[in-house]
Symmetry: C2
Subunit: 363 residues, 2 copies
């Protein structure tokens, strides 16, 4: 059994009486660059609404590209231990774990994490190790991996799943490689428009006044220093609400930036749906599929609703797209993937069958 610097991670198991193992529990982890959340659900079904969340634990970054392999592992192990401890269960009660972690892009990443999970948990536990898009998808479909999820926050990615286990992605390669529909992409285009208006390459725009006021700068020239003073993409992306409100005020330049970004976001979903034939076997068919929409860019709009415009664009090509705005957090989505997977395994073993929670479809 591995021990990290805080060797007491699993010590609660020998101190507190474990909860009834009974039907056991499942764990879902949403591991991101900002934070990592673990949720514990009962492994037995059917699950009532609201979901009987037994516990929830929060940790720091678990993206191995950002903090390195060891720190990522430690964070993941800590949040799982804390969630189990809060729910008064020991590892022997765990039936399935879904780790949905950003930075997991290759089978080699999955393999490394799987080996380490097998080192921690009993041999009968089912594991599911995936990209963080899985948790986002499942948070909209209550655990079922079928359809397409569009994530648009600081970055953007479209990720699709067929019912028979095929996957495809589009975009998600970061700002240098052209994610222009992301929060960063929208804000960078707005900053560019301000520079172009300033030096005579582009039309005048109210973005100048609005962005300079927000940043407390007196001239577009000062934007150069502001931009390169800190390389954080999130800091640039934080300008999106100003771009949206400027567009709402009727500014043509801001409106063009938003419409172009809507098209970029829609294009990434369309590419995934087409490759996976989520719309049916006919090219550009009309079959229905869930389209889960996640992230600040798709959510935080009022009159100018980026998410709604993206859905409009996609629906012109695929009228069967069923847009879903998740009502639960991604970690719950991951826990529901673990729950579904456990039901499936039990069913294959002839134990019993359980109803999947209802999928909530919103317009």
């Amino acid at each position: 059994m591995k021990r990290y610097r805080n060797g007491e991670i699993w010590d609660f198991e020998s101190q507190a009486p474990p909860g009834s193992v009974g039907a056991g529990v499942v764990l879902g982890v949403d591991g991101g660059t900002t934070s990592t959340v673990c949720v514990c659900l009962p492994a037995s079904g059917p699950l009532p609404e609201p979901l009987p969340i037994l516990s929830r634990a929060v940790g720091g970054c678990s993206n191995h590209n950002s903090v390195g392999e060891n720190a990522a592992k430690e964070t993941l192990e800590e949040v799982m231990a804390e969630a189990l401890s809060k729910a008064c269960y020991s590892r022997s009660a765990v039936r399935a774990v879904c780790l949905s972690v950003s930075g997991v892009n290759h089978p080699t990443d999955q393999q490394r994490i799987l080996e380490w999970l097998r080192d921690i948990f009993p041999t009968h536990v089912t594991f599911y190790v995936e990209n963080d898009a899985v948790a986002a998808m499942a948070s909209g479909t209550m655990g079922k991996l079928h359809g397409c999820v569009l994530i648009a926050g600081t970055g953007t990615i479209a990720y699709g799943f067929t019912e028979d286990g095929k996957e495809a992605r589009a975009a998600g390669a970061g700002p240098v490689l052209g994610d222009w529909g992301s929060g960063y992409g929208i804000a960078a285009q707005a900053l560019t428009a301000v520079m172009k208006a300033h030096d005579g390459r582009g039309p005048q725009t109210k973005l100048t006044k609005n962005i300079l006021e927000l940043l407390n700068l007196s001239s577009p020239d000062e934007l150069i220093g502001w931009t390169y003073a800190d390389p954080s993409w999130a800091r640039i992306a934080a300008l999106v609400p100003t771009v949206v409100s400027t567009a709402e005020g009727g500014d043509e330049v801001a409106n063009k930036i938003l419409y172009d970004s809507v098209q970029e976001l829609a294009d990434s979903v369309i590419a995934v749906v087409r490759r996976l034939r989520l719309c049916g076997e006919v090219a550009d068919g009309k079959e229905t599929f869930p389209l889960v929409m996640v992230g600040g860019v798709l959510e935080a709009n009022k009159r100018w609703d980026i998410g709604k415009e993206v859905v409009k664009c996609i629906s012109k090509v695929f009228p069967g797209a069923l847009p879903i705005r998740p009502e639960v957090e991604p970690a719950v989505g991951a826990a529901l993937v673990a729950w579904n997977r456990y039901q499936y395994t039990s069913e294959c073993n002839g134990v019993r069958e359980a109803d999947s929670p209802r999928i909530s479809v919103v317009q």
Copy 2:
């Protein structure tokens, strides 16, 4: 007198007999992020061809934004001392200095450098402290600051000068702020096109095969790791020759990227020329003005000649643009600015008049 860590910078003055002060010398410095070059010319005119370059010294980075104020100062002082030492002159022989240094963008930057120069040189010396665009402009016009210079290497900027001393610039705000005609911009668009072809958002392109072969990668997915492994803009910009050769091979995607970039570069020149009325007092007039073209993006082309296409674009709007490809290096341009400035000062003081070297205009 200030002394830096190598206190012996000016020690040669007390050891070697100084060269004849006579009419004295001028210094031109081209200070960049990669290297800093100082050239020493006789202060007396007219200058014959080829130019009587007395000495040349090379140092490291002198952009204060990159290496800090003290290291930048030290590099500048060292290259000037070395150039004077090689030419066997002491500081008392210096009549004028033109420092054309990248990172000098505000009057406060100029002021700081001027104060420090006054601390080093005798009081009668004329100083001219400017952005590195000045050296590039002057390298094409043999020292005369009139016209527009377009620099397109890893980055891009258009910089213009009127005969009565007005200046204007366009672009030059780096990749985040939309310098899409730069080497970095062209290469980033090519990488984006490869990602889009790979995930189904864009048309297939031969850029995929050519770029992956160049970088020794087996799949576009690996471009993500390659791109973010090193944040150097120059490393990305080094892909430009591959984009050009792919366009020459008839690839439509590569051709579109180059034509879009040509338009971006032309737009920056057009904006500067229009603001400064370099084409005459009538809007979009036909008066002639020098258009100096500098940098790898404008030079290293064969069949697909980016520089030629940019000139075509500009000439449609301003038929009076006279394209110049400099035959001397920017440091010589800076030295010629110092030389011109000294002639002007002498003339004002009634000393004598000198012919300016001929401006070399190429098509």
